[in-house]
Symmetry: C2
Subunit: 428 residues, 2 copies
């Protein structure tokens, strides 16, 4: 047995190592009962509660009652979980069955000393240290096996702080099979979820908000920026791997959590599809609520009614628009059931174009640049102010033949046939 002096030395060494490991062990964060707006250095919520004072979020504290499931805790999922944890989400449920490897160190979150640990355990321990107020459940299994799929469904449908269904499911998985499993579960459970993905070449990504029955599910149509359909494990066996960058993955996680916050805390406009192309910094976006951009394109290009998908091809200088409405022949029977339920909802008439009212066109035009209104193309607008060198080049054609029909919250779309849509996607 070691002598007392040797042991004393060992204690000192360990204490020093521990202090170093803990970053010189400053004050550790204690649990906090109520989110406070107080502006003191010791309040981890002051900058978040300031969102109320700034008029961005009405009731930020509500976040502590909310539960989010994150499926896949890799390059996107781990950062997603960390952002939600730092935002003070009430409960976080993590699913993954992979281990941390040094090969993951080119992405944010995990650290080399965690190599070999399960991703969910390593993540849960780091996240709990960052914010002890968050309830964290971690499940270390593959959701695509029959048994685990049922466990997954059960957890989603009873996982909230009050044992009700979780408020949102975020898919951060890296393969087609897992996405289909989440899609099937969410259609069956009528659960809203976000799909996300990053391309194999690491320089593009997307998020997509899926509301069963209302928007296209993952089986209705594949996402436009398709994440790898090939399981990473298959690739690795062949000695190749997909490229990845901490930048693209961090950006996609940021988009995912930002839209999660907007949806759950009811501020801003939630994107139904948001893509990102790193090479050209292009962001095709689509929402059901923000109609302005689509309407602008309708103004400018006059192709029928407003569509739900807005894309842009840098190569061909053109903005295509297409619908992402659900596929009536979707293979997923629960998707078809949700579609029928959605169609049966009472139809709410949308307000007609704001430009039809008699107020000055573009009264708040902060750039001092304007175009004539779609519905009064020939009308002289006396307040039309153009900066030097800028002129209105053409009148926008009138088209009164296709009044917008309204289906729930969605605006009518110039629908491509599903066949055409699929054909276009396949050829991309």
């Amino acid at each position: 047995m070691a002598t007392a002096a040797e042991l004393q030395k060992k204690v000192r060494e360990l204490e020093a190592k521990l202090a170093a490991a803990l970053g010189n062990a400053g004050p550790v964060r204690q649990k906090i009962d109520v989110m406070s707006s107080e502006v003191v250095d010791s309040n981890p919520y002051s900058r978040l509660m300031a969102l109320k004072r700034m008029g961005i979020v009405e009731n930020y504290e509500k976040i502590r009652e909310l539960s989010v499931a994150v499926v896949g805790v890799g390059g996107v999922g781990s950062v997603t979980a960390e952002m939600l944890t730092r935002c003070g989400i009430g409960k976080l449920i993590l699913f993954d069955y992979d281990k941390v490897e040094l090969a993951n160190m080119n992405r944010l979150f995990f650290q080399p000393h965690q190599a070999g640990l399960s991703k969910v355990d390593a993540a849960a321990s780091t996240l709990q240290a960052i914010n002890p107020d968050v309830a964290i459940d971690a499940y270390n299994y593959n959701i695509t096996t029959v048994d685990n799929f049922q466990k997954f469904c059960d957890t989603i449908s009873t996982g909230s702080l009050t044992s009700s269904p979780v408020d949102l499911v975020l898919s951060c998985v890296d393969n087609f099979e897992a996405r289909m499993a989440i899609n099937t579960a969410c259609n069956e459970l009528n659960q809203r979820w976000f799909e996300s993905g990053v391309s194999e070449n690491a320089v593009s990504g997307h998020i997509q908000f899926i509301i069963p029955g209302e928007t296209a599910c993952f089986a209705c149509a594949p996402p436009l920026v398709v994440a790898s359909k090939i399981d990473e494990k298959t690739l690795k066996r062949e000695g190749v791997c997909a490229a990845s960058l901490p930048t693209t993955m961090g950006i996609v996680a940021g988009f995912l959590v930002q839209n999660t916050l907007k949806h759950l805390l009811n501020f801003g406009n939630v994107s139904h599809y948001l893509g990102y192309s790193a090479l050209t910094d292009f962001f095709p976006a689509m929402t059901l609520r923000v109609r302005e951009l689509q309407n602008t394109l309708k103004h400018l290009l006059n192709f029928g009614n407003v569509s739900h998908y807005l894309g842009y091809s840098a190569l061909t200088d053109f903005f295509p628009a297409m619908t992402l409405r659900p596929n009536p022949q979707c293979d997923d029977s629960y998707c078809r059931q949700r579609q029928a339920e959605f169609r049966a909802k009472p139809v709410v008439e949308l307000a007609t174009e704001v430009t039809e009212d008699s107020s000055p066109v573009h009264a708040d035009n902060e750039y001092g640049i304007s175009l004539v209104d779609e519905n009064s193309p020939e009308e002289e607008t006396p307040d039309l102010k153009l900066v030097d060198g800028v002129q209105v080049a053409y009148s926008i054609p009138v088209d009164n033949s296709t009044p917008e029909s309204s289906t729930g919250g969605a605006v009518a779309a110039s629908e491509l046939s599903l066949e055409e849509l699929m054909q276009q996607m396949k050829s991309m």
Copy 2:
């Protein structure tokens, strides 16, 4: 003195705490001499080197020779530094003079146990553990004092791995004074840099690439999405603070490092201005190299020549375009000197519009949608394929009266007078 048994117990306790602190102490990452593409779990660079195989980056290893200075290690700067570290940057130079506080825990990177440490020391220690291959210098001072400003300039101009100037400076500061100090230094040193910022209400941000003499410097014109001009410390004294979100800050850091990589490793197109509005997921972007979007707008809206700033107002349905060329009357004398040098550079004729060649228009049109070409508006293009319900609504006016002039790499812009530009910015 404690007994051997007591000490033995203490050793076991400390060992357990240390193991916990180190995440059960898996294998720690050793230094690596040469970046390898080998696909094994232990290779932290396999996913980055895969960018070569994917055809994205020609020579990824070059990153190990490059040096980047990050000024400000807060919500944006810390994530920026982490991304660069994980990407394997050769050398990272950090500047900050603030301490980690629990109030910073709503952003990524720092952890509660680091509260009280200087941001640069805490960051350097975490980053070094993540990637021991990166050379990290940390400076804990305020760059805006006279003495420190000179030290800052000296460090920037000799800070690379070979004692030459750093390859890029990234501004991640949170106040106007520090931005002006960086601007002054970079104009004097003829140093390329990126400005970045996040708004006080936490829901918008921007990055801007500044090339002295070629693009507007920070003193030429304020950025369009202005980060707080009020020092956070002033606000805190008054018991209020700016709001912040880990999402927006992570996204801005992602944009910053993504464009840093594109610039330093020469792939894709570097954005000269990239904004982000979280509420509507809108991204005004402007580059000198990507002319497609601007040309599209020129096609569609016909307002003069192609401009350098592309904005979009969600409220008014309109895309304004304005130049961000430098201000000939800029207060910064070095900026004016760089402008004179830039003007004196030999003029390189730009290739004329690609659509002037005889190959089929939009041969690679992945969406199957097209518009007639600007230079042949009346011409029938036999390969013009429109999807059902989509039609060309108007012919684009011909304007041969304003051939593009060329100034270096920049395209000619329909310039607003500086007064008008400033007026517009002030009114935003």
